[in-house]
Symmetry: C2
Subunit: 76 residues, 2 copies
Amino acid sequence: MKARVTITLKPGVLDPQGRAIQNALGGLGFAGVAGVRQGKVIELDLADGTSEAEVDDMAKRLLANTVIENYRIELL
Amino acid sequence: MKARVTITLKPGVLDPQGRAIQNALGGLGFAGVAGVRQGKVIELDLADGTSEAEVDDMAKRLLANTVIENYRIELL
């Protein structure tokens, strides 16, 4: 089975990478880019029967820094 | 309007970050993790009326390295 964990910075947390992308897009001539936020997506190939609670535990303990990041789990 | 661009490594491309996460999950005692792939998710805050073709152009020219990465666009 597969699971996808999408990790994004919490609102209000400064995102220098997103800012750099925004500036670069402007430099390439793309108008109307009001904001850019970059996050991570982690795709896990898991043994069948792995529960969402286990994936949540993985996210809490390793995949996400829950002080500054939110995460969302999708079982695929 | 918002758009989300999900960027993942193409199959077959070595993913050292994914491998490191897999080893770390094993070290924390999570069994049954057969594989981990890490990618990026970029959330764009765009002017209304921005077309998917423009977002596709942004992805091709800046956001993704199309030699080793695939990307998927969602208009939100």
